[in-house]
């Protein structure tokens, strides 16, 4: 079943389109990686698809009323913000907010979702710690757990693994993989191409606002694409756990 379909999405900054006629769809069971160099339009594409930016074209998420959209898709923004000194548990519980009536407290189902999200992100021992006093990487995991607690069919994440230690990066992507295997879907932007190839079921490449490639990792991740889009001289080394992108230098 398709969870998100986007047709001719165009996001403009002033006159200049930062996302140009993008069309794609995401189905149940997929973990789709969005890759592209800095400034290619990854964040604008994600936010436009969610309806957080004014846009042309259609997106099934953007068409939904705000409350229904929050039940359909969770969004992890790139800027990690926890404004107040709240406990980890309370921050994660904010993910249940779209389902709570005004002034209602967490029910048993909400508690279950919060606990499941914390254990998925390995935060059970952090439960009562004050989130703002944790390290940047730990805060990032808390915020990912918050989106998981929202228990939506679709998760959109903007560079979720940036700034995480290698083990936490892999653990996070394994959680995304598991979500996909459970019949949900993940659409995430990321910069580590080898990890993208290993954990994503499909890659979407965006370059100067246009989607230039969309398909299985092996088809998309080629040395020519890396040279054209990323200006990277690289070799792709096949390994038993997936292709490894070995960057050799920058093309000028």
């Amino acid at each position: 079943m398709t969870l998100l379909s986007v047709h001719n999405l165009t996001v403009r900054r002033g006159e200049c389109p930062v996302v140009d006629n993008a069309s794609f769809s995401i189905a149940q069971g997929e973990c789709v990686g969005l890759i592209g160099p800095n400034g290619a339009g990854k964040t604008s594409l994600l936010r436009g698809a969610l309806g957080l930016l004014p846009h042309g074209g259609r997106s099934t998420l953007s068409d939904l009323p705000a409350r229904d959209r929050a039940a359909q898709a969770a969004w992890l923004p790139q800027t990690r913000e926890i404004a107040w000194p709240m406990s980890v548990e309370r921050v994660v519980a904010l993910g249940r907010l779209p389902y709570l009536a005004r002034g209602a407290s967490l029910g048993t189902e909400d508690e279950k979702a919060v606990n499941a999200a914390m254990s998925r992100m390995g935060l059970t021992n952090f439960r009562t710690r004050i989130a703002t006093q944790l390290s940047g990487g730990e805060q990032a995991r808390v915020l990912i757990a918050r989106t998981l607690a929202q228990e939506t069919p679709l998760l959109l994440a903007d560079e979720p693994i940036a700034g995480l230690d290698p083990a936490a990066q892999i653990a996070t992507l394994e959680v995304f993989q598991t979500l996909a295997q459970e019949g949900r879907a993940v659409f995430t932007s990321l910069h580590d191409l080898s990890l993208a190839a290993r954990y994503c079921t499909r890659l979407v490449v965006i370059h100067q606002g246009r989607i230039v490639a969309d398909g299985p990792c092996d088809d998309v991740l080629t040395e020519d694409m890396l040279a054209d889009v990323f200006r990277l001289r690289a070799t792709i080394v096949p390994t038993p756990t997936g292709p490894l992108v070995q960057a050799m230098g920058v093309l000028t």
């Binding site: 705000a66 107040w84 000194p85 921050v91």
Partner: protein, 326 residues
Amino acid sequence: MKLFIALMVLTAAMFLASLFVGYAAISFPRGIAALFGQGNPLYVTIMQEIRLPRTLLAAMVGLSLGLAGAAMQGFLRNPLAEPGLIGVSGSAALGAVIALQTGFASLYLLALPVTALAFAALSVGLILILAGPRGSSLTLILAGIAISAFAAALTSLALNLSPNPYAASEIMFWMMGSVANRAMTHVWLALPIMALGWAALAGLGRGLDALTLGEDAAEAMGISLSRLRLQLLFGTAAAVGAATAVAGAVGFVGLVVPHLLRRFAQGRPSTLLWASALGGAAMVLAADLVTRLVLPERDLKLGVVMALIGAPLFLHLIYKTRREIA
């Protein structure tokens, strides 16, 4: 829950103390009887027409400022925000000063607060025009600062042009803020407007909780930011505008109370809303008690005492939390 009970007890205690502490010593049972119009007619007058409006106004003003402060800090995600930031209190004060300066205030009992309220409403209109109904929080703050500065300049101008030193000192004393010598008419004027403001601000809890994670995340969780902003603006304008209209400028409540209670509310903006409302009421009631107990013959002003209590408290908080802030 414990926090709620503690704050309720504190506020109730301050409320009662405010009713029964004063120049005339009235025993508790006699005072209660007098509140309901029984017993010595002199006591009835003191309780019903002097102490009750004063106590009610102190509590209402404190509640408004505490609630609006917590809402403003939650919305801007900044512990330094305070309700005066959007220029409402400055504009209300300007209205009052103009009423005093022109002599309009002496025509009717309510001339001064009504003029102040009109100016508060005007400033909200101006903010909406300047920042736009969908403006970002930064434009909102900047517009507020500009309006505050303009109102302060015009207030100084009114002082500058005051016809005689007597009028100037009347204006000065009014601006220091006080709930003394107010009648129940002031309560009835301010209460419905404040109540509208309280209702608008109390409904912000969900949105402010979501905003903890930033504007983008909050919007993706189904919170309409433009609606939240409008509700905050109208709520603050009604509550703080009415408070300034009847009591003059009382600073520091909206800044210090949320800061003081944040730890006990475990950082949650929605909990902090009502906690600050109760805490603000207790604090203004306490400050008003101080004006009556310390140098009662010199008529200390509420705003002065509030700043004298608030500023050192704030310094202490900064000293204690400097490691967390750094």
